[in-house]
């Protein structure tokens, strides 16, 4: 109960702001419309109309809720009109890209920690790769991969991978280097091999860092998948819904796709958090 009240307060505040914002932003159109029809609106009428437009500048929460209900609960998940279907398409690319990105990031981190040349040379490139706006290279990746006959899930996953390997590299380099000099000396007094040192010391020591960076990577991966759906004129996925929505001014559709993306991100990051808790608990670290 103690936790519920603050949460409810915040939700209520957001809803109030949202409804208020909807009135402010949509008022002009309603007034223009009324003037054209020579109608005089009372304030309650005005407010009611700002919350009930077809293509409002800012849809009211209940309009988005209705849209979500229609597209999530009332459609078969396999239907192209179901938001669950689109979320599934985006999630597939997100998870695949996240997996590839985590593997790539992990491999690079191991290379950087164990190889002098990689230590000196790789990091600047890794950082440079993230300074290029993803919107600029996403279309190129898609076009190039399409040209060699790869389309569908994989190009989007590549963009997700491009965004998600970065936090994993940075986090894992830090994590694999987290054992202190004494712990490394200790391994040396036992004449441990590099592989033993990695498996028994560096890897377990890096686990908290791995999970923290995987959470960031997952969120980045979702952004990557959505961005990957924009330039192709994709027909499926949350990105496609956002794009279609903005073509036709379907703000309600845009907002429900956005909320769906947020929920998806929360679910995926939450899943990693759950695995983190279980793993660290089993390791005796939580």
């Amino acid at each position: 109960m103690k936790n519920v009240i603050p949460v409810l307060t915040v939700v209520l505040a957001i809803l109030l702001l949202w409804y208020g914002g909807a009135i402010l932003l949509n008022k002009q159109w309603v007034l223009d419309q009324a003037a054209r029809q020579d109608r005089v609106l009372t304030t309650p009428e005005l407010i009611a109309e700002t919350w009930a437009q077809d293509k409002p500048k800012l849809p009211a929460p209940h309009q988005v809720a209705v849209e979500l209900w229609d597209t999530v609960a009332m459609k078969k998940p396999t239907s192209k009109r179901s938001l669950v279907y689109h979320a599934w398409v985006t999630m597939s690319a997100t998870v695949l890209g996240f997996g590839l990105g985590t593997l790539l990031g992990f491999a690079l981190a191991v290379g950087i920690v164990y190889n002098r040349v990689m230590d000196k040379s790789v990091m600047p490139w890794v950082i440079a790769s993230q300074t290029i706006p993803i919107l600029a290279i996403a279309p190129m990746i898609i076009v190039v991969l399409n040209a060699i006959g790869i389309s569908g899930l994989l190009p989007k996953a590549m963009i997700s991978m491009y965004l998600s390997f970065f936090p994993v590299v940075v986090g894992m380099v830090k994590g694999l280097r987290s054992p202190d000099a004494m712990q490394l000396d200790q391994m040396r007094t036992w004449s441990a091999t590099r592989a033993q040192e990695f498996r028994r010391l560096r890897l377990p020591a890096s686990m908290p860092y791995l999970f923290a960076s995987m959470k960031i990577a997952m969120a980045a991966s979702l952004v990557g998948a959505i961005v990957g759906e924009l330039p192709t004129g994709a027909v499926a996925g949350l990105g496609a819904r956002l794009l279609a929505g903005s073509y036709y001014g379907q703000t309600i559709q845009i907002w429900s796709a956005l909320l769906m993306a947020a929920a998806l991100a929360a679910a995926l990051v939450g899943l990693i958090g759950l695995i983190q808790r279980i793993t660290l608990k089993r390791m005796g670290m939580a």
Partner: protein, 273 residues
């Protein structure tokens, strides 16, 4: 390789074999603000079964000397032999266990798992690992704690677990760098007693770094007094105390006599700078 060392005969021979010998040992650390001479012309012989304490002011090279013996540091000049071979060969033959100042237990491993760690690395069988873990836990009076995690133990218990870990494989040399430095006096007394009992039971050679004069005198058969800048040995004191040492021995005239000599040695070293 690990089993042959167990069969060493009890110290019945009058002259025990030399386990560690250092000759003309120098070590200079190159630092950003110039070279630091951590060890200068160190000569020392340590016999099998000795309990040698190293005492001296901070920065006199005690840790450095231990690290040289353990092949964690390479001397600039001079020779060190451990069991008649180079420190590196001795390390590869797992000739010694090293106890650091901090217990350094892995938080993600239980106490048993921590003690098992060097055994896993050295390739002992599962059954042998389990048997040894039980045995050394008994030795340091921690039986029944193998499933506990380090954070569930007090500092003194953690330090005992780290000693158990160094004892788990059959190294007959134990290098200990201020293992009880962070503990309070009462716990320390108790651990000192335990360490002595353990030493007389296992016939190991122990090199022990400490800042405490009573601790050094109580534990050692020989006390090596060192002085700083440059780090060198100023006195080596043979203790006439019997091998059997109850805590009360610290009030005996012999004990106070040795303690006095150690203090004199330390003071002489200090007058140098």
């Amino acid at each position: 390789m690990m089993t042959e060392q167990v069969a060493a005969p009890a110290a019945s021979v009058p002259q025990a074999p030399t386990v560690i010998s250092a000759q003309g040992l120098n070590l200079v650390y190159e630092t950003s603000d110039g070279p630091v001479q951590a060890l200068k012309d160190v000569d020392l012989k340590i016999d099998k079964g000795d309990f040698v304490s190293f005492i001296g002011p901070s920065g006199c090279g005690k840790t450095t000397f231990l690290r040289v013996m353990a092949d964690l540091e390479t001397p600039t000049s001079g020779t060190v032999l451990v069991n008649g071979v180079t420190p590196e060969a001795a390390r590869k033959a797992r000739a010694y266990g090293y106890v650091f100042q901090a217990a350094g237990l892995y938080p993600w491993r239980s106490i048993g798992g921590n003690i098992r760690l060097p055994l896993e690395i050295m390739g002992y069988s599962k059954a042998e690992q389990a048997e040894r873990v039980q045995r050394v836990l008994e030795l340091v009076e921690l039986s029944g704690f193998d499933k506990k995690y380090p954070w569930q133990l007090s500092g003194g218990m953690q330090q005992r677990a780290s000693i158990a870990r160094a004892l788990a494989f059959d190294a007959d040399i134990l290098l200990m760098d201020e293992p009880f430095g962070a503990l309070d006096e009462i716990v320390r007394d108790h651990l000192n007693e335990q360490l002595l009992a353990l030493w007389s039971r296992t016939e190991k050679t122990i090199c022990f770094v400490t800042h405490s004069i009573p601790e050094a005198v109580y534990l050692s058969t020989r006390i090596v007094v060192m002085s700083p800048r440059p780090g060198r040995i100023t006195d080596v004191i043979e203790s006439p105390l019997p091998k059997e040492r109850p805590l009360e021995i610290r009030d005996s005239p012999e004990f106070l006599e040795i303690a006095h000599r150690v203090r004199e040695g330390l003071r002489a070293g200090h007058a140098y700078d």
